[in-house]
Symmetry: C2
Subunit: 468 residues, 2 copies
Amino acid sequence: MPREIRLNAFEMNCVGHQSPGLWAHPRDRAWQYKDLEYWTELARLLERGKFDGIFIADVIGIYDVLGGNGEAALRQSTQVPVNDPLALITPMALVSEHLGFGLTASLSFEHPYPFARRLSTLDHLTRGRIGWNIVTSYLDSGARNLGQQALKDHDARYDYADEYLEVIYKLLEGSWEEGAVVRDRERRLFTEPAKVHEIGHVGKHFQVPGIHLCEPSPQRTPVLYQAGASSRGKQFAAEHAECVFVAAPSKSILKKTVADIRRRAEEAGRDPRKVLIFNLQTVIVGETDAAAQAKWRDYKQYASYEGALALISGWTGIDFGQYRPDQVLEHIHTNAIQSAVEAFSSADPNRTWTVRELADWVGIGGFGPLIVGSAQTVADELQSWVEDTDVDGFNLAYAVTPETFVDVVELLVPELQKRGAFKTEYAPGTLREKLFGEGPRLPASHPAAGYRDLAALEAGRRGATAGA
Amino acid sequence: MPREIRLNAFEMNCVGHQSPGLWAHPRDRAWQYKDLEYWTELARLLERGKFDGIFIADVIGIYDVLGGNGEAALRQSTQVPVNDPLALITPMALVSEHLGFGLTASLSFEHPYPFARRLSTLDHLTRGRIGWNIVTSYLDSGARNLGQQALKDHDARYDYADEYLEVIYKLLEGSWEEGAVVRDRERRLFTEPAKVHEIGHVGKHFQVPGIHLCEPSPQRTPVLYQAGASSRGKQFAAEHAECVFVAAPSKSILKKTVADIRRRAEEAGRDPRKVLIFNLQTVIVGETDAAAQAKWRDYKQYASYEGALALISGWTGIDFGQYRPDQVLEHIHTNAIQSAVEAFSSADPNRTWTVRELADWVGIGGFGPLIVGSAQTVADELQSWVEDTDVDGFNLAYAVTPETFVDVVELLVPELQKRGAFKTEYAPGTLREKLFGEGPRLPASHPAAGYRDLAALEAGRRGATAGA
């Protein structure tokens, strides 16, 4: 029995998410990101293809490391202009029944009290189909516009994130007991006040004394996604995340990463199989291998070198404008570049790779691998990645939108289904039930479960104080 | 030719917005506020009735002045639980073509940089149908949960608001010139960097050096709504607001208020007819006067005394739990109560009014007046309010939802149309064009227009410095 492969669509409320320059392709419709119809059509398509979800990335800030300004990013619409992702979710929910929605939202830019209300609202209106991609932020250009000189120290950001999540968990899991809303018309009683609790949070970063403003939603806490690649980020993911996004360019790197995440989850007392890991992946699927290769060659004519450098410079913090295109990569030291070099080298250890070749790699779909071929070829390859690396599925970037997703839904998904490696029906229930086959709420082993009984927590604190 | 009357629906993402207790009425569907279908059906209904818009109120916080806690508010679902309004707008936009959307958002709870992006995004996705109700916030219970001890001093809040709007105007009006986005496939040029400007804002509350993240939306700045009732609030409205919401319980008060707002707008250099003023209003319409009166008596059985006191206590800051229901109102001194007493007295100067009678008044639709009758009776009355007070239209609260709006659309609107006092077709274009019959953008007389040419502003500052 082949292992099931899971697919997410990787999108962003902007033009040319991770394919800078391909907005100029005659069939690309990314520039219609401002039209609701672009998004509702995409949602219908993805649900037809039994995608688990659409994952909407976000940045607040612009890619202004290349050349020390945002001009290249603007010229190539490299994630600028970029609109707010939140407003996209409910219209897509209206035209679909099962598709999940991964909302990216940075902890640095909104206080947890109103943000908790946004999450509950979305979970209510989608009937429990919301995931939240927890981001601790990486563009200094965004932080500066919020009056912060630069983003806080990396590890300190994760300490802040821990407290942020504590507030969210208390509000979503603890403030309203099950059954608090009775809506009893005879007794004229809507909510039983004794079952609604003030969270009384007093921390280093936040003081939140009151109750959550929303009644419990189907999942309470949305499905938690995380994409941190650093050691501290992986630790945070292992403790909190139910789904982890990674961007490993080679099998050897991915295998190590997956094992590391599962090990850390187990050490945190969680079931390592209950952390779903998705690798960033781009696929170009055609009727035949030759047709797919031709499509790829066509796409590549539109890829933008300066747009790719704007992305790479923003991600790494290094101004790649200072290097010649033929500069050899191994002389540039960052984790991201080392990963790329390792990936390239695994294919051919005897050759070197240049800045231009890195830009070509990243320019269609980002740091993830690219597979080009017929449905059979791509299915073979994806199955071998799953077998060899223990990854659970893929976060599919587009080259040209929605064409990349149309090809996947019409060609690749039926092939995977034929092989028994892809669902033919959605599981019932909320996004969490669809992904993990258990209840709609976080399991008892998750740290959020510790905030469900606020009264007991409070009594415990009092007891500890009395005993001291 | 009778004067045109404009209608907005007054809603909130909660149960029993300004009709505490009426959630228990067998036909009330407010408890379905968590279902997208409730909202999309409402949007279709209102568009059928040629409403200008749906105006979504909001509070962050709970009504906890009555008895010093939120228990009454919870029991009667008096604006708690309350969900985020933002997620409602795009699904309603998807099923409508003309209806406008008034989003309430407080300046105190989100930084202007990400908030500007939310506004632009909504204006794009609705194709220019967004209004923004600028709120400077009034529930201390909300402020405390955001780590503020209590809301800032009232007048200081408006100074903060002035700077907040300056940042918003610079981002929405000044950062991206017309024509900055060229999307030129031949030249592989999406945005012309020379036409995108950093706003360089350095103020007392905010430092925002960068560019706006979004390309210009149809209206750029959404239609600006304001509801401030204080003197400083009215001044703020006169300078900035294109639509003003008031809640005057009698014609004499409304007439004074309308004249005052128009006078202040004129003093601020604006056309006083280009400020549209809407009074809060509840109408209960039936096939006949007798049927409407019977409907009202039916509704009143469900009104909640403690729910009404929770609202009044929250609005006035006075714990009405300390008074007996038969306590005479004139001994309780607040602006809101004095308005109510004046309104009551204008009907019958010789009688006194009690707390119970105030609660009965407020308990169906809030502080605005209530009109009960056939379509003819209600139309007569609304027309006389417009004639006598110079108000432009009404912000209709519901008693029972959507029934109140269904009655208006099916009975009242056709009657007003027959009299030539209500539009039979929407005007074309954006919300601003529909309301004011001119262009999609704010007029040159509005303070926002002063931020359109950031380069000139910058040169002016330099000149001033050089001259000093």
